[in-house]
């Protein structure tokens, strides 16, 4: 139990399933005949891609909430910042093909009568720089925010509230036209990425596979973190913060490190999300979005990593279905789901499934149960 392997049984299942998804979805899109039950239509590929990005965002929240007890209700901000960094690259790729045909300025700047590109837009026509900013901007914001919050020992509900305030403040700022990010329309009308047209089915498949790969990579990174001694310290902070402090650990450094890493993961999720949905606007900063992410994690099973992925996929698939059938009741359903899970399945879907599996396992193979329990507990 002490030396946790990087790849436990659960991780192998997760990675195998992700690999299967990365192969099956494109295969069924290309090979299965349109009209057959198995066919994945062209509009479903980016939809699934969107779910995968949400799963990566949920993973980043589980890393801090599930393992370190930091309940961030503002993680949508890091997701949106990563998305904006990618959106800026995509805007610059439009070039003279915009409505106003300005070779350099994006349409909204021409519309606002701006004469030159603001300094912070320079270099974003180069993907490596944009990709770096996808990591650095959310990371830097999380570092600065965390530096002050954790050093002042703001914890619990107070921390959650200021993370909400942070994302709300950013939303208001991004709504303003003179921020230089397209105001309330945001960034949209993207044409292509690295020369590949975004509307093409092949580009969408490429982005989908890339998103699954990013999710798998993010999962492995999180596994590596939580199975190290660093991860044990995180759990120690979650369960007995002052004990950890009196043992000589600088709790604020641990929180800062994991919070920054988590924000960067959220940024990557946002960057992959934007080309697949074709737009990024300030509504992504809406406080309700960040709360929804926490619900995904709670539904899937907090502190398990795999549960975060599962929760994000299940809730979002449910949302797509529900908003098609009964759109005005979706928020009630989401709220009801959260209450249901909190009261009846405190360990989420994954926790409940494990309980059932263990109970049946105990009946079938009583001798092996201790080992199975130990592994499941990890």
């Amino acid at each position: 139990m002490t030396n946790q392997p990087l790849l436990d049984r659960q991780s192998i299942v997760v990675l195998a399933l992700l690999a299967a998804v990365a192969i099956l979805v494109p295969a069924l899109n290309i090979l299965a005949a349109p009209g057959s039950v198995l066919h994945v239509s062209d509009h479903l590929v980016p939809l699934f891609g969107k779910y995968i990005c949400f799963a990566l965002l949920a993973l980043s929240v589980d890393l801090i909430w599930g393992f370190c007890g930091i309940l961030s209700l503002g993680h949508g901000a890091f997701f949106a910042l990563g998305g904006y960094a990618m959106g800026m690259y995509l805007m610059r790729q439009i070039g003279p093909r915009g409505v106003y045909s300005d070779p350099v300025l994006p349409d909204f700047m021409v519309f606002l009568n701006w004469k030159e590109l603001p300094w912070f837009w320079h270099g974003f026509d180069w993907l490596p720089l944009a990709a770096l900013m996808v990591l650095l901007v959310p990371g830097a914001l999380a570092f600065i925010f965390g530096w002050f919050a954790f050093r002042s020992r703001v914890t619990g509900v107070y921390l959650s509230i200021i993370t909400q305030a942070m994302t709300f403040a950013l939303m208001l700022a991004f709504f303003r036209n003179d921020m230089g990010f397209g105001g309330n329309n945001g960034l949209t009308d993207f044409k292509d990425i690295l020369g590949f047209p975004l509307q093409a089915a092949s580009t969408r498949i490429g982005l989908f596979v890339l998103s699954v790969a990013a999710l798998a990579g993010g999962y492995l990174l999180c596994r590596w973190v939580v199975s190290s001694k660093f991860g044990k310290v995180l759990v120690a902070v979650r369960d007995a913060e002052s004990r950890t402090r009196f043992l000589g650990y600088r709790v604020e450094h641990y929180k800062l490190a994991v919070f920054t890493l988590s924000a960067m993961l959220a940024g990557v999720a946002g960057a992959l999300y934007v080309p697949q949905v074709g737009i990024i606007n300030p509504s992504e900063f809406a406080p309700a979005n960040s709360i929804e992410v926490v619900i995904w994690v709670a539904v899937g099973g907090r502190g398990t990593l795999a549960g975060a992925i599962l929760g994000a996929l299940v809730v979002n698939a449910g949302k797509t279905w529900f908003t098609g059938v009964l759109p005005e009741f979706w928020l009630f359903a989401l709220g009801g789901l959260f209450v249901f899970v909190t009261l009846l399945m405190p360990r989420g879907i994954l926790g409940a499934a494990k309980d059932i599996w263990e109970r049946s396992g105990r009946r079938l193979r009583p001798a092996r149960v201790p080992e199975a329990t130990a592994q499941a507990a990890e």
Partner: protein
């Protein structure tokens, strides 16, 4: 670092702490020698826990001096720095990492590099394993090493927490009510364990249980309203009229 001004391991002089006008510590002075065990007694609200908070950096005194090894100013350091200097603290209610195995609890407490980067890259060595084995033996938890700490009995948790303190290899152990909630046998065993520890390390024990304090057989300091009321052997202290007055409320 300045030159030592006192040979004592822990030296508190004229330490006062007030919270919203309430003086939790009132010009408290105390000195603990190397490898000395001291029992601190006193009625509720006498300032015992506040004193520990000051020593471990949780509370900053309004005035007074707190020195460790004659040169380290405890009032200027945070909890983590003080723990690294070699002061370990056991809480009144046993506080262990309930979701971690017993073994992991000790592993986390071992005196090793504490920075996030170091722990991220650390690999468990054979030497660490030996140290954990020895500690498990000492606090009699070898057979429970793989159990979750949350599953242990109250007494076992107390011992695990003492084991975690020992894993830090501190020079001074502050132990808050180690016998609370223990059976008579466990209490006697705990006294033995603490006496054993005190052969090499200094120990400060806060305790209400007079039988336990008598078992320890060490110098006793009685606190009252934030300052020292009496100091000496248990018999001398309990014969002190002021002490009797405070305890019986006359």
């Amino acid at each position: 670092m300045t030159a030592p001004v006192t040979p004592a391991l822990l030296y508190l002089d004229n330490v006062s702490v007030s919270f919203d006008g309430f003086r939790a510590l009132n010009a408290l002075s105390l000195a603990i020698d190397h490898a000395e065990m001291r029992a601190i007694i006193g009625p509720n609200g006498a300032g015992k826990t506040t004193m520990m908070d000051v020593i471990t950096g949780k509370t900053r005194p309004n005035e007074g001096i707190a020195l460790f090894e004659g040169s380290h100013d405890l009032t200027a350091l945070d909890e983590a720095a003080i723990a690294e200097l070699g002061i370990g603290r056991k809480f009144q209610t046993p506080t262990v990492f309930e979701m971690h195995s017993v073994e992991d609890n000790l592993l986390l407490a071992l005196k090793e590099k504490r920075s996030p980067f170091a722990t991220l890259l650390s690999r468990r060595t054979a030497q660490e394993r030996e140290r954990v084995d020895a500690l498990l033996e000492r606090v009699r938890l070898t057979s429970s090493r793989h159990r979750k700490a949350g599953e242990l009995s109250h007494g076992q948790k107390q011992w695990l927490e003492i084991g975690m303190l020992l894993a830090q290899q501190p020079k001074l152990l502050l132990i808050d009510e180690p016998a609370a909630g223990m059976t008579d046998q466990e209490t006697a065993d705990t006294a033995d364990l603490l006496r054993d520890i005190a052969r090499t390390q200094s120990v400060v024990v806060v305790e209400h249980d007079m039988t336990f304090v008598r078992d320890l057989g060490v110098k006793v300091t009685c606190l009252h309203e934030g300052s020292v009321l009496a100091e000496g052997s248990l018999d001398a202290v309990s014969a002190n009229e002021r002490v009797v007055e405070v305890y019986l409320g006359r």
